[in-house]
Point group: C2
Chain length 632, copies 2
Amino acid sequence: MGQNIYLSNYELKDAISTYFEKLNIKKEFEELNTEDCNGRVTCEPIYSLISSPFYNCSAMDGIALKAESTIGASEKHHIELKEDKDYIVVDTGDPIPKEYDCVVMVEDLIRTGDKSVKIYKSAVSWQNIRPLGEDIVQNSLIIPSNHKIRPVDIGAMLAGGVNKVKVYKKPVVGIIPTGTELVDPGSELKIGDIIDFNSRVFAAQVEDFGGKAKRYPIVKDDYNLIKNTVLTAVEECDIVLINAGSSAGREDFTSEVINEVGQVFIHGVAIKPGKPVIMGQVQQKPVIGIPGYPVSAYFVMENIVKNLVEKYIALGQKPLKVEKAILSRRVMSSLKYHEFVRMKLGYVGDKLIATPLSRGAGATMSLVRADGILEVDQSIEGIEAGEKIDVKLLKDKDDIKNTIVCIGSHDPIIDVLADLIHVREKGYFLSSAHVGSMGGIMSLIKGETHLAPIHLLDMETGEYNISYIKKYLSNKNIKLIKCVKRIQGLMVQKGNPLGISSMEDIVKKKLKFVNRQRGAGTRLLFDYNLKKLNIKEEEIQGYEREEFTHLSVAAAVASGDADCGLGVYSAAKLMNLDFIPICNEEYDLAIPEEYLELDIIKELLQVIKSEEFLKEIDKLGGYDYSDIGTVI
Amino acid sequence: MGQNIYLSNYELKDAISTYFEKLNIKKEFEELNTEDCNGRVTCEPIYSLISSPFYNCSAMDGIALKAESTIGASEKHHIELKEDKDYIVVDTGDPIPKEYDCVVMVEDLIRTGDKSVKIYKSAVSWQNIRPLGEDIVQNSLIIPSNHKIRPVDIGAMLAGGVNKVKVYKKPVVGIIPTGTELVDPGSELKIGDIIDFNSRVFAAQVEDFGGKAKRYPIVKDDYNLIKNTVLTAVEECDIVLINAGSSAGREDFTSEVINEVGQVFIHGVAIKPGKPVIMGQVQQKPVIGIPGYPVSAYFVMENIVKNLVEKYIALGQKPLKVEKAILSRRVMSSLKYHEFVRMKLGYVGDKLIATPLSRGAGATMSLVRADGILEVDQSIEGIEAGEKIDVKLLKDKDDIKNTIVCIGSHDPIIDVLADLIHVREKGYFLSSAHVGSMGGIMSLIKGETHLAPIHLLDMETGEYNISYIKKYLSNKNIKLIKCVKRIQGLMVQKGNPLGISSMEDIVKKKLKFVNRQRGAGTRLLFDYNLKKLNIKEEEIQGYEREEFTHLSVAAAVASGDADCGLGVYSAAKLMNLDFIPICNEEYDLAIPEEYLELDIIKELLQVIKSEEFLKEIDKLGGYDYSDIGTVI
């Protein structure tokens, strides 16, 4: 093998079955105290060793007696019985001596003395007795093999006298982070460093899959160091993961190492992200090369490593739940790959709307934000907006139902809102996508959002928001929830070293500007001001550089990539920048009237009027919230 | 308070809200390394501390250069560039120095020397650059408060420079088992002992709820010992559970203790099982008295303690999924209680059929076997067979779909079958209810089972099974899967001390007999033989004592409660009894023809013909399986 299998294009299914066939997976087991095996998987059927109860016992508080001593008792003919001669007193659970065969409960007794009672009903054999084995009979099956043990199973096993259980040993999964540029979290960072978070994510995933993670220290990009670590790891672990970067140079390394000390079976699977995965074996242990981009790594972990770990503990694959959803935006895909697209989901009206998230393989946040996965088959080139699709759910359906979908313009107060809504113990969520004010209007038109934060300046009248709603959403009954007035201005380096004082300075001083994306309210505001000042786009250096949020613009300025950008005061403050105010604007929430009746929206209205929320936005600074919560 | 609140009848909902209002729940938090907080819950919003990437970096392998140096490049007009003067070589992820503003990927370069390349396309600023903050912008929200941390969240937090996270401290839940009759699992058992498995089940449940369990040693029924243990536990824990027996005497004890050192708020909730729960507080810590019967305890844990634990970690209640099902048998309920009925579920045809399981509060196995819970409201006296009901699922819907429902006669080979079907890695289950052969026929008539194991002797012809199917199931197309011929006989004490040699001896020697329930094939066989021998029921001592399985009968004989009973050889062997053969009989599986096409049934047919299965039934002994798997 070797170069000839370099970046093959196996289908995922075929890759997995080919790989698993070549592997020689040895399930091992260990014997644990029954009480310590919650969540573990049985590797043999568990039969009871004793019966439960293991003696006949009383099901009631009362007296144990012989049924024959009650013959003839009636309301008219009471029979008197003597303790120790005719009966003994028993509590629930007490054993019934062999000489007695039934129990009369205390409510049916008339006490006639310290040691005597009268009864007024005859009893039958076995009445009120829990016979030996009533719950569990000796030698009967309690739970089968390959069963994930639950608390109730522990109870039944202990009741059945089973004090030790053989369960599958959790496979130890070694995780080797490689890369000269990698540093551990908490290290002092310098340009060029990459924080090794992948190996920590893998460790958490492995534990969730049912394995035991063993993380090795970072290994520099050195063939022999990597080889030696792999050799140590295959000694100490059942499965080994090597996390190489996805650059060609480094991948060759991993694949070469595995090929030297073992075999590479597959290098390259037709999935995106995740293509350059390596599946091999060293000393009869599976060794997998995981691509470095976090999103690629995630899909390889969930689709291949999970499968493998579960083989060791005989857990069947639990596929993710699938729901039908309506795609809100076109998704294009290559015929070369089976593609995994992360989706934002929300019930808007009674439709489940799926909106694709960022598809970059480096977009960690797209995994955090994703509610579901759309898998686009290799044979499909694209799916049109409006089509019904199958989405695999990453979140509970009920949680998705309790999520406010908020698509539109970004402001830091949306983050605060998202947090406060979730703090209240109603299980509600706010999930936002930052596509600018016009993007928000478009989402309202398509019915893919509950509400859209907007700040759209009418270039003619100078009025905010209302004319846009009238123009674009005239056929819908849209209300505007007044939110905040905020100050927009130029964000500049701390101390304003370039002495910027107005928008004209961008041209005069030939400043590097960073812009917002088309459709953003802030972009419109910028263009409006350029027009007023008679400045042309071409005169602005960096006009074409587009960022999607105020914070991104502020970050570009803070890092020195740009000299200034237009944005809100709070973003400048968060990034410790100086701020030159340009104007006030109105940032409101546009919402179809029908949604005002939803519980999640009512909650939102409460939250934005709450003291907590106003306190938080005071901390951010630069907001006037005198009208907040007014619906117009 | 005190006696006057003894066994109140609060509705569950009211009890919980009343109790929680009186409690003063203090959520505590702890700071953990981010990588150690998988599954924990944030107690504050997590904002990124740095951007990710935190510098502009290359998205490709290639060269970093100035876009302006490429102006005019085309297929016709190549531009030559020199390393270090015009460009530097970059790998994916490498930082872009300030003097460069774009990346041209290696595929678009023509190498002209060691240190020079030609390009044939002009580039634009920011092309192939991942700008600072592309994934995560500094100060933006990564996850909100009250969020259960997943592996992907760990990745995003570490990427965002968040190396420590404040999460809610898991509440420590003290568990105090009380009872003089309690012994630890593994102790040598004597009559009257009760194995303390409850406290172990509670511990596992508490961990599943998200708490930390602390189990105390068994405390004898001594007021002061219990009091002192409670006082120690409230010092050491956040919540304390006292597991008293459900007998009146002992419960008074727990309630008295709590009342002396704290307060009892509620004693008695209108739920069944679970009524005698005690909710109180000692030194501002919740103290709950849990009933002793395991099933009562289970429902109190799931419905009250879970709720309470989740309060400490701000986890919203995740209610169990509810499905519509058809009730196969009438369920009666008292107007005094909100009742929890454990249900066996199965998809038979496309209907979800729900069959109530044993309702005894001591029936641990009913919890193990339950697939769902039917809650019967306090205002309802009963639900008729055939009605549509809401069932709360304890198992995944897909697992229920993969379950073969098998209702009918019991034989130990059914346990073996259930195990072997689950061992195969298809995720199939076999779930059986032992209601006797006639019960199985009834279930087929009602369509509540996939198949029914039967051994029904035609008293007229001496033929097995076929005539019954013709008589009772003439309107259905039923097939018979031949299973085993087995030996029925009298099970007697080891060594046969009473010298039993025939059925006549039961009368002659005045033996204590143990019978099977009405409708069991073995009962019919016994009656058939009595008739042949001209013996009357009344002559048999113990004729009225009914057990539901061969093993239960064998257990009664083994314990000396009975001198003999009729049953199969394998059960006698499992219980180490002697066996006097009476006759051979045919134990077959009746199944509607349409189900033969189901994957789960095809699998079953494969398993019963498999070598493994035959080997296991050889071990049990007494079976002839020459026709096994033949469908007639």
